[in-house]
């Protein structure tokens, strides 16, 4: 018997028996929709959380630091100074090594992020805040998911870029002093604390402003401060992550050249500060979190230390894997329940069609052909139920998205939007067809065993 004939005969029955078809489709569609929605929620929630975590923890970045774990044994047998320096400390993070890293596959950016220390920034109108001074290539900031809210990078010496955090909480010296004193005498005074917090979160317009950096002179006996030459703010970065947390992340980025000048002016002694072409930190951006481990291993071969936040992803993946398994289990459970409805409906249908089966057998249909017809019919019911289930799942997801939208999302950055990945559709259909086929086996066997003579006999 041709497949086209089996399918046509099955389709005729499906069309004809509207109640049976409707009942079976309803059951299967609910199960199929449950699977698709569950997988979609799991997938969307995972990518949403991954995106959010990536925004906060930068999982696609590798922080590279010198490998100080390999002690140098000296040398200096008349060789050039730079060569002997390298031999002295092969774990140094040099510009040369960074160039090698930049050329690695999957690396989208590799730049030094020279941590020069935490210092005080003072504006012209005498407002101050503590910032972390970082020397880097300002032109590469955008490669690290930074967006300029105002201005842009500049190569010129004496220019700086502030992150959003560095523009909030600038308080004039007197007010700051007064609040600190009040808090130290009355640490449980909520009013003062609230006032301090609101000032700490207040943003200031720092674009094109001039600032000076200030550090304490370690050589001074009287605690005298060292003040840098004026620095022009040429760019303000947009906030990444939760703006409420910006006050805890204050950074001022300067070019490496400006950094060297500031090290001299402020007598900064942080790590490799002051050493030419040697850095205490660099950040490598990788095209995908999937390639992090591979790139990390290559960097380690350059005798450098690496650290990533990939463990966050692994922890999250195991959590979501559990969630997905649970959701899939629920969907399958619903499909099992749905399959009972198919078994009942198809068995009823088999009894109602005993005469027809009998005629077919008398006309020469064998057991296998009858069985195949019923199984195809059940598979067809499963497929139709699956298609209906896809429709349902889009409706359900639309409803959930509306609900999330009306409740204001999950309180993090962007709102969570559930999307149905295309891959879940064939999975849903496959489960639906499989349920149809499995549920159709018993009625099909029962139909094929129908005694032709008994079936066609009329009382």
């Amino acid at each position: 018997m041709r497949i086209s004939d089996i399918s046509r005969l099955a389709w005729e029955q499906v069309k004809r028996r509207k109640v049976v078809t409707g009942l079976c489709m309803a059951g299967i569609s609910i199960g199929c929709a449950a699977i698709i929605v569950a997988l979609s929620i799991g997938d969307s929630a995972q990518s949403y959380t991954e995106r959010e975590i990536n925004r906060n923890f930068k999982m696609d970045e590798i922080t590279v630091t010198p490998n100080s774990g390999i002690p140098s044994q000296g040398g200096g047998e008349g060789k050039e100074a730079s060569a002997s320096d390298a031999k002295l400390d092969p774990g140094r993070l040099t510009g040369q090594k960074l160039k090698i890293v930049q050329g690695l596959r999957h690396v989208t950016a590799a730049a030094p992020f020279q941590e020069l220390g935490y210092i005080q920034m003072t504006t012209i109108d005498n407002k101050i805040t503590d910032v972390q001074l970082i020397g880097t290539d300002l032109r590469l900031l955008t490669k690290y998911d930074h967006k300029f809210k105002q201005g842009g990078p500049s190569d010129s010496v004496g220019m700086a870029v502030l992150n959003y955090g560095a523009t909030v909480g600038l308080i004039d010296v007197e007010t700051r002093q007064r609040l600190f004193e009040q808090l130290s005498t009355d640490p449980y005074n909520n009013k003062i604390m609230e006032q301090y917090n609101s000032l700490s979160m207040l943003p200031s317009d720092m674009f094109k402003q001039q600032v000076q950096l200030q550090s304490y002179d370690p050589a001074s006996q009287t605690g005298q401060s060292l003040i840098s030459s004026p620095i022009q703010i040429v760019g303000i970065l947009d906030s990444t992550g939760n703006p409420d947390m910006a006050m805890y992340d204050k950074k001022i980025y300067v070019s490496l050249e400006t950094g060297e000048r500031l090290v001299e002016q402020l007598k900064l002694m942080n790590g490799t500060a002051g050493q030419k072409d040697v850095y205490n930190s660099a950040i490598v951006k990788v095209d995908s979190t999937d390639n992090i481990v591979q790139v990390e291993k290559l960097i380690q071969k350059l005798t450098l230390n690496t650290s990533t936040n990939l463990y966050q992803k692994e922890a999250m993946a195991s959590t979501f894997s559990m969630f997905k398994k649970a959701a899939l289990g629920i969907g399958i459970f619903i499909l099992i329940i749905a399959s009972i409805s198919i078994i009942v409906a198809m068995t009823m249908s088999t009894h109602q069609r005993r005469r027809q089966i009998g005629i077919m057998k008398v006309l020469g249909a064998n057991m296998g052909q009858i069985r195949n017809m019923f199984i195809t019919e059940a598979a067809l019911l499963g497929m139709l139920g699956g298609l209906l289930g896809i429709g349902f799942s889009y409706l359900i997801v639309f409803g959930i998205n509306k609900l999330i939208g009306s409740t204001g999302g999950m309180g993090m950055g962007e709102p969570l939007v559930i999307t149905i990945p295309l891959m879940t559709l064939p999975i849903g259909i496959a489960f639906a067809v499989m349920t149809g086929v499995l549920s159709g086996i018993y009625p099909a066997i029962s139909a094929s065993r129908t005694n032709a003579l008994t079936a066609i006999k009329r009382d």
Binding site: E12, Q13, G364
Partner: protein
Amino acid sequence: MLRVENVTHSFKNGNETTAVLHQIDFSVKKGEMVALLGSSGSGKSTMLNLMAGLMKPTEGHIYIADQDIVKMSENKLSEFRRKHIGFIFQAYELITSLTVRENVELPLVFQSVSPSIRKQKALALLEGVGIPDKADLFPSQLSGGQQQRVSIARSLITEPSVIFADEPTGNLDSKTEEEIINILLNLNKKMKTTFIVVTHELKVAEQMQRIFTLQDGYMITEKQTSSDTELEGGKLIED
């Protein structure tokens, strides 16, 4: 063509055994048209079911096209029926969800014959039974006589060795009955197909070439009737 040898059949009802056929012997030649006549309970329907392989006799052998169908497995019998046996039922037994043409084609569907050949054959047969214009209608749109014509066309589509007709005019009025019998006689004449017509009506049986009469499970007579009859224009003409 068909040979029934010493066939006995009995049913078990609890501990009791009821014999419905007793040592039946007869044979039908190729192209012959015979009647199996008997009143209700005579065993004629049981005999038909045994010959069609729908039941197995308690004793004896049934040969169709020189093959003993008694020894065949169910699947082998399905295959055999598909190729060698055609059926015409009293209540037509058409599949209501299929069109007239699809009903006629159905036995060929089980033989995996290509749709184009099936269609061609079905249309030719529908023309042969006088309803070429009904091909795309559903059985419910036809009269009883027209449905029986469809059933006849369906029985012929596989070009079987033998066609069993179980009270083919039982549900029809006398005018339609005559038409149907004429069609059967015509087809027998034209296609040389062997027909075994089970009936309780003598006037139907008398139009066949031979009559086997059954009574209480025994074959009581075998009578030659109109072996010399000829058909003209669908009507029987006596020499």
